[in-house]
């Protein structure tokens, strides 16, 4: 039909790159919050506190069991209708909230598996030298679990970066939104979305390389 307009693409790159900080900012905020929430959920799942466990199980199941898009729509368009505090929620906040809840459910399972993966004799050795449950968790179990979980958690961070593209559907002008707006003027949709794709690809590739190095490093430092 027509050739690629490379000049247009080249010109678009700095425009889209200008939105990278927003994308990374949303992902980073979501990651930090999700890590905290996931750790709490995971520790609960390990100790299985009565009266709390079923709620945690339900929470994890719901956020793993429904699409992120549906969750975002529910928070941004739906929830303000029934919760007055959320009436003036903006798209970015809703996106971060949605990413946090969605990924914390996944990450909780990863952290839980890593905690339970620590050998039983490690618990017992700690117990026999007289540590409290909390000391054990903090000094013995979590440092080991963190190393096991780290590569998977980095993977979730990568997924989260990709997940920020859904903020676009909440009307946030992030990379996709900006590309859409640009293309609406030029009508060069293919070029615009391709630029977005390539920038995402570059970000993810960089992080994947870092993750691979982390994995190699942890495997080496942590050989048993």
């Amino acid at each position: 039909m027509r050739g690629l307009d490379l000049d247009y693409m080249l010109g678009l790159v700095p425009v889209i790159l200008g939105y990278v900080p927003l994308t990374l900012g949303m992902a980073a905020a979501g990651m930090v919050l999700a890590l905290i929430l996931a750790s709490l959920l995971a520790v609960e799942r390990v100790f299985r506190l009565p009266w709390l466990d079923w709620a945690v199980v339900l929470f994890i199941s719901f956020f793993r069991g429904t699409p992120l898009l549906v969750q975002l729509f529910l928070f941004y368009y739906g929830l303000p209708q029934v919760l007055s505090v959320l009436t003036s929620i903006d798209g970015v906040t809703a996106a971060i909230m949605g990413l946090t809840l969605h990924f914390s459910a996944y990450m909780a399972e990863t952290i839980r598996a890593a905690i339970l993966g620590v050998d039983r004799s490690q618990w017992e050795a700690a117990q026999s030298i007289g540590m409290t449950q909390l000391q054990m968790m903090r000094r013995i179990i979590l440092p080991q679990a963190a190393r096991v979980a780290a590569p998977t958690l980095v993977n979730y961070f990568i997924d989260m970066i990709k997940g920020t593209s859904l903020a676009f559907t909440l009307g946030v002008t992030e990379m996709m939104g900006a590309a859409q707006k640009e293309a609406a003027g030029s009508f060069l949709y293919f070029e615009a979305f391709l630029v977005v794709a390539l920038i995402y690809w570059a970000m993810v590739e960089l992080l994947s390389q870092g993750q691979k190095r982390l994995e190699t490093y942890l495997n080496k430092a942590y050989a048993r």
Binding site: S121, E124, Q127, S128, G130, P143, Q144, A221, Y222
Partner: protein, 358 residues
């Protein structure tokens, strides 16, 4: 003072009874080995003594104090685990000193005691490495160092050598024996390997299905097993067992086995009794020239260098003789063997219990 007393110790998992009321006395400074096939309850017993497993019934005392309800840390015991249980994220120094640090020891005092433990176990060179950089044998030493540094009154070992290869196992066995000689601390050692139990312990406790079958010094168990089970379990190669019928018709007692017969010594049993007669491989003596008591056929033979094992067939039984390495053997050839009837063991053919003179 760290003698250990078990009185009627019971362990139940729901309706399942794993340990059936065990009584045992471990003296101060004694080295006791629990040995038995897998599932016999030896590890469960150790874990109850360590406080890692609740006691369902009976009384456990350490150093005169009943500790059934005492937390592991309050029992003044240190356990060495089969998989070492080293903390992979800490250096060896931190691993060894961690228990003391958690108890609020002074840094200078901790450092001194870690150095001392490292000296005893010859691991001073690795103190700043991580466990992942050590070999299996070195890790096992560190695990022992972590126990030693706490200066407990009892050491508990849970199959500590079973992850090592054969050669290292023999070396570490000697190390542990030296360690006991040096420290003089009470030690309980769990293993499925009868050689380890025999070579290490002052007293060997043989367990089976949650009960003590026999306890005593190694050589007593070896020379006077109270049952066919202990006879076959202790000793390598295994004791030969010949099952047959006691025949007193010719005056001297004989065992009818297959279509042959074996001379026996004084058996405290009646004519016609079903009997299991045991004889250890080294008690079958080469009887060239003399009149052999039996002439089994060699199926295969295995030269070990210091001895040769002849695996033979006799009266439908397989039997192993330990012979001098310079005897020339041939497959499918009968060999002349004899024995001293005082080296025979007599077990009841039904219950397997040793037959004792009235």
């Amino acid at each position: 003072m760290a003698e250990i007393r078990l009185e009627g110790i019971v362990k139940e998992y729901g309706a399942l009874r794993a340990i059936h009321g065990v009584d045992l006395q471990v003296d101060d400074g004694e080295f006791v080995a629990f040995v038995g096939p897998s599932g016999c309850g030896k590890s469960t017993m150790l874990r109850m003594i360590a406080g890692l497993e609740e006691i369902s019934g009976g009384r456990l005392s350490i150093g005169g104090r009943v500790v059934n309800e005492v937390e592991p840390k309050g029992r003044d015991v240190a356990m060495v685990f089969q998989d070492y249980a080293l903390y992979p994220h800490m250096t060896i120094r931190e691993n060894i000193g961690f228990g003391l640090k958690m108890r609020g020891g002074k840094p200078a005092e901790i450092a001194r005691r870690v150095e001392e433990a490292a000296r005893i176990l010859q691991i001073g060179d690795f103190l700043d490495r991580k466990p992942g950089q050590l070999s299996g044998g070195q890790r096992q030493r560190v695990a022992m160092g972590r126990a030693i540094v706490r200066e407990p009154s009892v050491f508990l070992f849970d199959e500590p050598l079973s992850n090592l290869d054969a050669k290292l196992r023999v070396e570490m066995r000697t190390e542990i024996k030296r360690l006991h000689a040096m420290l003089g601390t009470t030690m309980i050692y769990v293993t499925h390997d009868q050689t380890e139990a025999m070579t290490l312990a002052d007293k060997v406790v043989v367990l089976k299905s949650g009960r003590i079958v026999q306890e005593g010094p190694p050589m007593e168990l070896y020379n006077r097993p109270n049952s066919r089970f202990v006879g076959e379990f202790i000793g390598s190669p295994q004791m030969n067992i010949l099952s047959g019928i006691l025949d007193r018709s010719t005056g001297t007692p004989r065992l009818q086995v297959g279509n042959g017969a074996l001379d026996l010594g004084e058996v405290p049993a009646q004519d016609g009794t079903r009997l299991d007669v045991g004889i250890r491989p080294e008690h079958l003596i080469w009887a060239e020239g003399a009149a052999p008591r039996l002439s089994p056929v060699v199926e295969v033979y295995e030269p070990l260098g210091s001895d040769t094992l002849a695996i033979c067939r006799f009266g439908g039984h397989e039997m192993t003789a330990r012979l001098a390495p310079d005897i020339a053997l041939r497959r499918d050839t009968a060999i002349p063997l004899s024995y001293d009837t005082r080296d025979l063991h007599y077990f009841d053919g039904e219950s397997g219990a040793r037959l004792m003179a009235a």
